[in-house]
Symmetry: C2
Subunit: 568 residues, 2 copies
């Protein structure tokens, strides 16, 4: 659905990652959760979880709280993601929150890094971490990937593999675990052109979207047309919109219920400062709306961070058809004068002058020319200094350029595979009454595409003739790559159907002759008669999506419902 | 090839493994290599590598050594795997081996555990390791897997994933790395019946085998018939033989040259004490014969080890059709008498008595009856004690048993995927002269099955009509799941063919009209003409093995060699 469709490069990077890579990406310093400890037992808890649980419980169960207090708890829930350790600690103290298991007092919150640490090689001196995401492996290999792609943009690289997060308190069943399968796509694109040639393939799609404004104003998600959402600027750009559409098609094709799937835009406080826009595909489950896919425009942040740390330029070029004459800003600090004026802090002043953008520099030039002096803020000193006319020369020069060199933006769809599969189990689970009406039978309505077992084969009764025919069919199913299960128990055929319905097997072949068989479809319970020879290829065609069950139903004689009744 | 063919269960266990699991498996205590340190710089080396390099270099390059000395070096190379740390250290001292980089003296050898260690959870108190193999995850889940398989033997579970080994000195390019992809099959079987119903499918295969005896007597590998090797007992049992045959078919189907593939039996000193038999599929590469797949009968060792540590029985049952009357050995130590005689060591004596097998017990019974007393070795005390007739009663009792309970044996094919792929690159690499004969062109002759890119599409010249047709073909290739690459550069078609030959792409579609195209096969360079509409489905049929290139060659008009010449 993704790799072949976009001709993506596939990579497989190691899980054990040297510290320098994760230092550059910011994970060593910032990939933390705030933790509190039970002061007597030492048991650890996530500070925000305790505060969240406290406020939620008060709101849901305490009927005595005032409207004012309720509003306060709601406000805390809304803004707590932005709390500093001190603010979080103050709230925990204020509400008198204690350790849930022992009621002991809690320590102040402190940051706990979520990466599993290890040491690489025999010396014990090279620290490493288990990767917390797969993306960094793609970023550090950007130079080679760009080369493999013939030095052309846009292109994407994709990776699927394990990611590791040493969660303080795993919870919510299989949704928050310490090791999980991530699939990530890093689509590199010219920041000046984020259009997408295939956007029209998805622009007509309509599905539940939940933009920032609707969340802030207390509305709920609503059906929007993707093309309009991009046109109105609700979604930042076409490429981001294209991937949102492709993710929608992917999830619904797997079997996710489109009424329980929404795309929620990150609020300003959720989003990294460098991100241009970010949407989560959220799937509703018994645990609430679960973030299963994140689709973010991360701008040029990641490639720049690795470039800065490694000194290796991670850039792309656009060759001009004709050389272009461009005006270039030239800032020449006069080091002698600056040294006399600022002595030990000269270096800070020089760096700040050189870092000015065109607008700032041209304003300074104008002020210096009119007044001979200007107040200038040096951020690394945290104060203003006075710059005089003889301390810096600012000019614009004309140059011929043959190409534009730039750091690509990256648009990243990132899939939590385990979470998607968990939600798929919930969405595909259903019950129906047994024939006698005395019990509810469980059915997993997995689409054939994702059902782990595609087909079961039942000899109707235990005899050699049927078992031989079963073997023939099994061999053919194997040769066409169809996973299947054989049930040769003497149990009634109805019970055997119920058993594989519960496993989510979409098709069952019942062998009741050595020349022809019945094929039953799980959801409709419809049955057709097919010759022994064709059985495997019919199942494989439907399982692989080359034909639908409707096609099969139209092409083969139906198994009479009387006979079917007899069996079930 | 494996999973569907044997209806194996598929599992995906975590990489981060709690210490207790790897304590039970023996890895915490024994998964070590002997390491020496440069005494001045602290640089670490594998002790056996240094000794091996020293002996090999002496044998290969030092023409002055005596025949006696040469024999000694050869002997050291043959037996060094069995050396204790002390013996290895003594040899290093004797030969005056120093650190290769600095010539500094070396420390004594000491064991270094090859597992990457980490800590699980926020407390820092739960040690864990990155799994050094995937197998243990299957063993600890045996109980559930057996249940999923309907409590029937034999069955197999398979897993593919990352394994981690903190090698002291990674070497040999990509062959010895610290993180790699392992694929392991654990086939559980009744130890009393290791026959295999499908053995006849592989018994006629003949390929290079290198049994223990041939290695010990200095012969080389020779072609043996697998069925005969099992019948003669060279290979321990049918199931082991079946998997050897299946591995042979797998590797050759991937494109491994059968003349550079051999199955080498482990020597007695290479094999774990519990293993019944073990064969390595070794592939010859520029680094020599490389172990790529290990196929071992590990008996019941692994399941027993986890049972003992966890106290959970990992067993299978065989229900008898009729209850069986069996004679059961009953050993009843008389604790009162033993307590009087042995006081504090009574427990050791009781355990040793109870642990006797039938033969030992019946011999003791006979001696006690004839002599009234017997000398009995208690291994946990390390000495003999005197057992008198009143201290133990030994008898045989008849019981009715309804089932037999036993620990299954496990037969384990274990695949180093990276090593296989590396060898595949070497075996598929070839060169051929360019048309003009002035250069050697590189070709990767990957079989279509494994070629990462199946097809390239070239518009013959750059024009809109051909580019549109190229897009149509590309879309169809995507819809049938065929990975492909489009080369729209204006380069000559011959150069474009050479470029994709070097990438190992088996088929190239050249678009030179908007109704029909040519398809060229990489190895023969033969070309056929196919209608635009059929192109994708023809390529997909050959790439997926549904038809051969010979079939295509027989069914479609050949592209005249004159025209082909013109192009190349």
């Amino acid at each position: 659905h993704f790799i072949l469709e976009e001709n993506m490069l596939e990579v497989d990077c190691p899980c054990v990652t040297p510290e320098v890579v994760l230092k550059a990406s910011g994970h060593v310093d910032k990939f933390t959760d705030l933790m509190v400890k039970d002061e007597k037992t030492g048991t650890c808890y996530r500070a925000d979880h305790l505060l969240k649980d406290y406020c939620t419980e008060k709101l849901e169960k305490d009927l005595t709280i005032s409207a004012e207090k309720a509003a306060e708890f709601k406000d805390v829930l809304a803004v707590m993601e932005d709390y500093s350790p001190e603010e979080l600690g103050a709230k925990i103290k204020e509400y008198g929150i204690t350790a849930p298991d022992t009621k002991n007092p809690l320590s102040d919150p402190y940051p706990f890094n979520l990466m599993f640490q290890t040491s690489i090689g025999p010396s014990g001196l090279i620290p490493g971490y288990m990767r917390p995401e797969t993306a960094q492996g793609i970023f550090v290999n950007f130079k080679d990937l760009y080369y493999y792609n013939g030095r052309k943009l846009p292109f994407a690289a994709a990776q699927i593999g394990q990611a590791f997060r040493n969660e303080i308190s795993p919870r919510q069943g299989l949704l928050r675990v310490r090791e999980f399968t991530l699939a990530e796509i890093e689509h590199f694109v010219d920041p000046e052109n984020k259009s997408h040639p295939k956007f029209s393939d998805v622009s007509k799609l309509e599905f539940l979207m939940f933009p920032r404004e609707e969340q802030m104003s207390g509305q709920s998600a609503k059906k929007l047309c993707l093309g309009e959402a991009v046109a109105k600027g609700t979604v930042n750009n076409e490429t981001l919109g294209y991937f949102i559409g492709r993710v929608y098609l992917f999830l619904t094709r797997l079997g996710i219920d489109k009424e329980r799937l929404r795309f929620r835009q990150h609020l300003a406080n959720e989003m990294a400062h460098y991100a241009a826009d970010c949407w989560d595909a959220e799937i509703e489950s018994s645990y609430g709306w679960i973030e299963c896919v994140g689709i973010a425009d991360r701008s040029a942040y990641d490639l720049r961070a690795h470039s800065e740390k490694s000194g290796v330029a991670l850039v792309a070029e656009e060759k001009y058809a004709e050389p272009k004459e461009v005006e270039k800003l030239v800032i020449n600090p006069v080091k002698k004068e600056l040294g006399l004026a600022f002595k030990g802090t000269q270096k800070n002043v020089v760096e700040s002058l050189e870092a000015m953008n065109e607008k700032e520099a041209m304003e300074m030039k104008a002020t210096l020319e009119s007044k001979g002096e200007v107040e200038f803020y040096v951020c690394t000193l945290g104060k203003n200094v006075s710059i005089k006319k003889n301390m810096v020369s600012i000019s614009k020069e004309k140059k011929k350029e043959h190409q534009r060199v730039f750091t690509p933006s990256v648009i990243e769809p990132s899939f939590g595979i385990g979470r998607i599969i968990y939600c798929l189990y919930e969405h595909c689970f259903s019950t129906r009454p047994s024939k006698a009406g005395d019990e509810q039978l469980n059915v997993f309505r997995f689409p054939p595409l994702v059902a782990p077992i595609k087909c079961t084969v039942f000899p109707l009764v235990q005899n050699q003739q049927f078992e031989e025919a079963t073997k023939v069919i099994s061999k053919e199913l194997t040769s066409v790559g169809i996973s299947h299960k054989i049930d040769i128990t003497g149990t009634s055929i109805g019970k055997r159907y119920a058993r594989t319905d519960e496993l989510g097997v979409p098709f069952a072949i019942t062998v009741d002759s050595d020349t022809s068989v019945t094929i039953r479809e799980r959801d409709s319970k419809d049955q057709v008669r097919v010759s022994l020879k064709e059985a495997a290829s019919v199942v494989s065609s439907v399982a692989e999506g080359k034909m639908t069950w409707q096609d099969v139903w139209a092409s083969f004689p139906h198994h009479s419902s009387a006979a079917a009744d007899e069996q079930e």
